[in-house]
């Protein structure tokens, strides 16, 4: 498995170096390959995440960002802030959550959170990709946690039909209960909800699976293997991209929206026809009833 992941970046490097003829290209590609394979390794072995490849200046930049944007809730050293009752967290500790968590929470705009509430929902992203990387690098230094997955972990370009089918089975077993059969989202207790997956990037789905953001459970790589995660993502992409065989999907929310359409469009239009059929034609403007 690990071998395979390391092979992929190399072939990517080969393609890149063929296009770019700069003398530094080979070196850059090699560096990139090392970075990515390091990341892949980190993803597979989250307990011993390696941050040595990230430069100290990036971490320092991340720390500055953290102090400005995150520390008011999560504490200056990411230790979290406990409410006065001593039990609940104002902001949870971030020690050991890993770079993947930061990349997910900040990369989907869930963080920074304007007001604490039941659920942090996705919003427009406030940070640049570079800032997110630096922030993630800093949080990763607080304690070992899952790293940002390499692209190879969630790239579903070459997924086979068999893998997609398998992913569908995993999806229906593990995901549809909350996220609905089409990934359209579902309701959770007390005003929370499982978000729709249709607009979420491959990377963020992968990250969500390994970190278990907010109420979502963790699906560790030991139980749902990285390949199986990729299959799930491939299935999601396939149902998103496939033609709408039966016409408009009505939000893929199931029979409730279908019932609404039956009444509003079906009964509505047929009653309108009935009114037309029974209405009198032009001359009867002085109709009694």
């Amino acid at each position: 498995m690990t071998k395979k992941d390391i092979v992929r970046p190399r072939s990517l490097g080969a393609r890149l170096s063929a296009k770019r003829r700069s003398p530094f290209a080979g070196f850059v590609v090699l560096l990139l390959g090392l970075l990515v394979s390091g990341g892949a390794y980190a993803a597979l072995a989250p307990a011993s995440a390696d941050t040595s490849t990230t430069s100290q200046s990036a971490i320092e930049h991340g720390r500055q960002l953290f102090l400005v944007s995150c520390s008011s809730c999560h504490g200056q050293h990411g230790e979290g802030i406990v409410e006065q009752d001593g039990k609940t967290n104002y902001g949870p500790p971030l020690i050991g959550v890993g770079a993947a968590d930061v990349d997910f929470q900040v990369g989907t705009g869930r963080m920074p959170l304007a007001t604490p509430g039941q659920q942090a929902a996705a919003h427009p992203v406030t940070f640049t990709p570079q800032e997110i990387r630096d922030l993630a690098a800093f949080v990763a230094t607080l304690g070992p946690g899952p790293a940002i997955p390499p692209k190879s972990a969630y790239d579903t370009q070459n997924a086979t039909t068999e893998q997609i089918v398998k992913g569908g089975d995993f999806f229906r077993t593990n995901c549809t209960a909350c996220h609905n059969f089409a990934g359209a989202g579902g309701a959770l207790p007390e005003g929370k909800h499982a978000p729709a997956l249709t607009q979420v990037s491959n990377k963020h789905i992968y990250e969500a699976l390994i970190i278990g953001p907010q109420q979502m459970p963790v699906f560790s790589n030991q139980v749902i293997k990285p390949q199986e995660k990729r299959d799930i993502i491939a299935y999601l992409n396939s149902i998103r991209d496939m033609p709408k065989y039966g016409g408009s999907t009505l939000g893929s929310l199931g029979p409730v929206s279908e019932g609404l359409w039956a009444w509003v469009v079906g009964i509505g239009s047929l009653v309108a026809f009935a009114v037309w059929i029974a209405s009198h034609t032009a001359r009867s403007k002085k109709k009694g009833a």
Partner: protein, 593 residues
């Protein structure tokens, strides 16, 4: 003119006959003697009103269901035998599934037009039941269930129940994740039945849930048993309709003794036939443009998978809402379990609601003591308590319906799922009562408004200044046709208790039922506004004429629309801004009212 036409239905039919038609007709009649029955039916009169066509939507949807259903049976395999899918839908290739599900996928992806037929079948099922509901509400609101139509009303309710069962059976056939979840819930309901629950479940499923029998059994029920019953009952429903003739709205020339409208041939043949094609066409458009039950997205049923938003079709929404709103009561008694949390919403409440609806015509007839035949419809406002009762029922239904989709409401509107349920638990008891009170007050206000129109005419928009300088709006009497329409109704029979002591001072025995009936009657009709008597009407008009005379200088002539009645008021003037009280305005157009 009217009288001339009324008796010529037979003659007209003969005139239309061409020799060719006569030849065929003779051939058939020689063998069936059908002319006796046909002569009055061919030109049978149906009254024209949009609300009389709601049942037709249901009828035509049923025909669409039969047609599309037959198409689907050509490919559907009602078997729970396991197969490995190898059809065109790539995302399920190689997944083990039942034949039923695989053949449904086959219909959807490998039979041209199959998906269209499946979607049309499903849409028309939704429309079928919805149209029956709307039709039932129309019948209820207008009092069309009164004698002699109680039986047809009951047949209609049976049709509704059977339609819902039929729909549920069909929903379960494809054996996808959603339909399997529905069956799982049905199994849970059956198991909750005291004493015999688990036995019934095992017999129904041919063993432990899900077994390998339920699809083929439901198939027989879905395509043979219930459609047969539906057909027979629809036949009875239509026969009674033809025999009893359709009800009509009261109006000039439209009485309890006649029916005014257009003949079956050609007008209703064209209108109803055209409506069939319309219903069919709308269903086809919906089937083509709107996805319904995308079974390929749900996957095959396995008991360890479920999807968010697992819902029944809309007509089971009330049962779903009841299940969701019910508190978790369960009794453990002497080693046995009574699941009130399932029994009450699953059996008791639907049973009670259905029984109340079924018996309603008799309950109302008992309260009114009315044994007469009714062929004229009542406006909903003229039966305020009945109307309010139905509004309360609709409200109850609506609350439970919404609760049945509480997760979707929570998701779409970002509401709190738990609060929706808490609210529904209260609203189920409070809102119907509130709706009842509001609807009844509303109806009575509308009655009062009608009464005002009758007695004092309509507001003309003309402001009159009296010599003293006071301003008043002039009211103009309504036309006689409208006045007739407003008064073509019964006075409500409020039952009074017989006097406690008769003229000899002997105490009359009054049964409890009698007292209850008097109280109910008072509750039903006590607050209604009764139409004025002829004397009251005359008095009111005289009074109005007097008022007008006082206000104007007596040269004008009132002309109120199509008003040509016998209470024409002399010496007054009418209408709109052009009126100045001094000019003759007979030729002026009256503003529309």
């Amino acid at each position: 003119m009217v009288a001339g036409i009324s008796s010529n239905t037979r003659r007209a039919a003969k005139v239309e006959k061409t020799p060719k038609v006569a030849g065929v007709a003779t051939w058939v009649d020689d063998r069936t003697g059908i002319a006796t029955a046909a002569k009055s039916q061919i030109r049978k009169v149906f009254p024209d009103h949009w609300s009389f066509m709601l049942g037709e939507i249901a009828l035509w949807s049923f025909v669409v269901l039969l047609l599309t259903g037959v198409f689907l049976t050509l490919w559907f395999k009602p078997s729970m035998g396991e197969t490995v899918y190898d059809g065109s839908y790539a995302n399920l290739k190689g997944i083990p599934m039942s034949d039923a599900y695989a053949s449904t996928l086959n219909i959807s992806f490998d039979v041209r037009g199959g998906l269209l037929m499946r979607q049309m079948h499903h849409w028309s099922a939704m429309l079928f039941i919805a149209a029956m509901f709307v039709h039932m509400m129309r019948v209820f609101f207008t009092g069309a269930f009164r004698k002699p139509r109680e039986m047809n009303y009951m047949i209609g309710l049976l049709l509704l129940m059977l339609g819902i069962l039929e729909g549920f059976a069909g929903y379960s056939l494809p054996d996808d994740l959603l339909s399997g979840t529905g069956l799982r819930i049905a199994d849970g309901l059956i198991e909750a039945i005291p004493v015999v629950g688990s036995y019934l479940s095992f017999f129904l499923f041919g063993g432990e849930f899900p077994g390998d029998q339920i699809i083929s059994r439901l198939y027989a029920v879905h395509i043979l048993l219930i459609p047969g019953l539906l057909l027979a009952l629809i036949g009875a429903h239509m026969l009674l309709l033809v025999y009893q003739k359709h009800t009509q709205w009261p109006g000039p020339g439209r009485t309890n003794d006649n029916v005014v409208g257009f003949p079956m041939l050609p007008v209703y043949a064209a209108k109803a036939g055209g409506f069939f094609f319309t219903v069919f066409g709308v269903t086809a458009l919906m089937g083509g443009l709107l996805t319904i039950n995308p079974i390929w997205m749900y996957g095959p049923y396995t008991p360890n998978q479920v999807t968010a938003g697992s819902q029944p079709d809309w007509y089971m929404g009330i049962a779903e809402g009841l299940l969701r709103a019910m508190p978790n009561w369960e009794t453990h008694l002497a080693g046995f379990t009574i699941s009130w949390n399932v029994l009450i919403p699953g059996v008791v409440v639907p049973g009670v609601l259905f029984t109340v609806m079924l018996l309603y015509p008799f309950i109302e007839a008992w309260i009114t003591g009315d044994k007469r035949e009714h062929h004229l419809l009542q406006r909903p406002r003229n039966a305020p308590t009945r109307t309010a009762f139905m509004v309360a029922m609709i409200t109850l239904y609506g609350v439970l319906w919404a609760e049945g989709g509480n997760d979707i409401l929570a998701l779409v509107f970002h509401w709190n799922l738990n609060y929706i349920t808490y609210t529904a638990r209260g609203a189920v008891f409070i809102l119907p009562v509130v709706a009842f009170i509001i609807a009844r007050r509303w109806c009575i206000s509308l009655q009062r408004q009608d009464q005002n129109r009758l007695l004092h005419g309509y507001e003309s928009g003309i402001i009159m200044r009296s010599p003293e300088g006071a301003y008043a709006e002039r009211h103009v009497p309504i036309g006689v046709n409208e006045a007739y329409e407003l008064t073509a109704r019964d006075r409500d029979p409020v039952v009074e208790l017989p006097p406690e002591y008769d003229e000899n001072g002997v105490r009359a025995p009054r049964s409890r039922a009698e007292r209850l009936r008097a109280r109910l009657s008072q509750f039903y009709f006590g607050n209604n506004i009764q139409k004025p008597t002829a004397e009251e009407l005359e008095e009111a008009h005289e009074h109005a004429a007097h008022e007008l005379e006082k206000a104007s200088d007596g040269h004008q002539h009132l002309h109120g629309g199509d008003y040509t009645g016998d209470y024409e008021l002399d010496g007054t003037a009418a209408d709109g801004h052009q009126f100045d009280g001094r000019h003759y305005v007979d030729d002026e157009e009256l503003r529309g009212h």
